[in-house]
Symmetry: C2
């Protein structure tokens, strides 16, 4: 399918789900690697078709509880975990619930941020506030005092930052003291390279996670959310009962299959991403751009100056997609995803070389 | 799975997705009939797993456009149709978009109403207003003048009413003149008995529909929404890009399969429901309750007096589920779904006979 762009304007949303053979896309935030099983096999003899429980299938929730205990050390009661249409719906439900309570209607985000966060705030009639992604606990303390919710995202999109355990603990304590909910978005949890992933814990913490990145299932929209507060979970489940009902049963069946996949599959994928990370980081540095080495996820975020014109010229003149940082709170930077095959990364970096040589 | 109810309180949500062998449930608003194909077969060689387009797969949208033209006489442009997580998400997206615009934030509903409508209004920071389901166009004219949106639902849950074409046309003209969006929720379109379904048309009409009832696929959450205004559709697609992204690809694949199913399958199901309708209507009348003969959908709504205590006693003493009308805007009535096998209907009606005999 050919991308037809009448106006020469770049927006991250315009490329979602669009594929074009001659474009090298460093744009898309999703694994190129295949899921760890054959979907056809999963549905042999599958005969469920009626509504499921709004919060998720019992069997899947039971398995998930074991998984989050084993992987992240979270003890979660049965009525405190819920299956959602991807992490997106989980985030939206949490903000939605907060927006319906009396409060200040402010959300504290780390900047740069995942593209959707400020939009989700606005869609939920809330105002986004910002603190630097290189966390300054004093600033978090001051600002979270005026917010109902803070979102942390470690490993982070688009910076690749992994926030240290001690810092995450500091954020958790501060937000708890400030009566502020801490949403921990951990969709990249399985992709940390040198650093170790830590999942914050506490009474005010709501954890959002997904099968999308870990098991290469972005298109199946299967995520989950949990916390320590059954009343809070009941409220968001009640909202979901009206806004989308149960998460589709087909994806829940696939999620069950994921939880049976041996951990070596996930570790093997991490190795692949780590090799790509090393490679793309070196190539980007060789181009002369200032860039941090990503510790997790699958993005690099070099500082390039005029990122809008770079993204536009790369796309229209070199058939390479990168995201300008402007809409990610990273003005003057571009985001390159390395969730594409090594030969495509080679080809794309070669084209970027050509572009830079002409400057 | 056994329903454990600690507090003897009945709410419609508590039964969703719950099954119990010894209970006869007239509660659930979903077909008991199987889908028209084997899901396992559908996914042989299926290999899509990445994000899809937020608005839906091109192939499915193209087929849907043909379908809505053929079935309802709607000419819909490619950029004016969108695939959603069931009709629920479609309704929610439309209300959400309206709630983000400056306006009066009022939604006009017909009463009795589908359980979720007033909740969806409130979740979207809007106030529900009501007009009688036996439409009085003068009242619609007066009230829609103070509303941003009106929702009509024909065939209707829970009344089984089918609104006449001339009345629907009247509502459409009035709402258009009043600058009010008309949402037409047509999820029961394939289930009309004597009357004929009419799908309202006009510049202010947003049509919401689903595969759930027509193809017995409630658990797969696959619906769609269309209108004549590409700007409006772009806005709700933008919201969905942040709140849930693409509708799951597995369900979209199943939806494609539905659109290849011969129409005789749908007509055969309608016959089955019509026979059940005739039977349950007769039995309910014989019990001595005042009841309208449903012209569509799969519900009867007899007037019973103290519906809360009837629903409670039927459930706890006779293991029969019916929904009290209180939460459907039908105080003093109970809703019985006839989307269950004939032998279960027999058994359940027998138990209700026993209950009534004891009164």
């Amino acid at each position: 399918m050919v991308v037809t762009v009448t106006h020469r304007v770049i927006s991250p949303g315009m490329f979602i789900g669009v594929e074009d053979a001659d474009v090298v896309s460093f744009g898309s935030g999703q694994p190129d690697l295949a899921p760890p099983f054959d979907v056809g096999e999963v549905f042999l003899n599958f005969s469920r078709f009626k509504y499921g429980k709004v919060g998720g299938e019992d069997e899947l929730k039971a398995k998930l509880r074991g998984y989050v205990k084993r992987e992240f050390g979270h003890c979660v009661d049965e009525d405190c975990i819920m299956v959602t249409n991807g992490a997106s719906e989980a985030l939206d439900l949490v903000l939605r619930k907060v927006s319906l309570d009396p409060g200040r209607r402010r959300v504290l985000l780390t900047k740069p941020y995942y593209y959707s966060y400020p939009h989700l705030a606005r869609i939920n009639h809330m105002t986004p506030m910002y603190t630097d992604a290189n966390i300054d606990l004093e600033d978090v303390k001051e600002k979270s005092g005026n917010c109902d919710v803070m979102i942390v995202n470690s490993p982070a999109n688009p910076t690749g930052n992994v926030i240290e355990k001690s810092v995450l603990r500091g954020i958790q304590e501060i937000t708890e003291d400030n009566g502020c909910i801490l949403i921990s978005d951990e969709v990249y949890h399985s992709l940390t390279y040198e650093s170790k992933h830590y999942s914050p814990k506490g009474e005010n913490v709501v954890t959002v996670n997904s099968f999308s990145k870990t098991y290469s299932l972005c298109g199946y929209r299967i995520g989950y959310v949990f916390c320590q507060n059954p009343g809070f979970m009941k409220d968001i489940c009640e909202i979901k009962a009206h806004t989308s009902m149960n998460t589709n049963l087909l994806s829940q069946r696939v999620a069950m299959e994921c939880l049976c996949v041996p951990k070596r599959h996930v570790l093997k994928n991490r190795e692949i991403f780590q090799r790509r990370r090393d490679y793309i980081y070196r190539r980007v540095k060789e181009l002369g751009f200032e860039v941090e080495k990503p510790e997790g996820a699958f993005y690099v975020l070099p500082k390039v100056g005029d990122s809008m014109s770079m993204a536009r010229d790369l796309f229209f003149e070199h058939r390479v997609t990168v995201y300008p940082g402007e809409r990610l709170g990273a003005s003057g930077h571009v985001r390159l995803s390395f969730a594409l095959p090594q030969d495509k990364i080679d080809e794309g970096m070669g084209r970027i070389d050509e572009y830079v040589a002409k400057l």
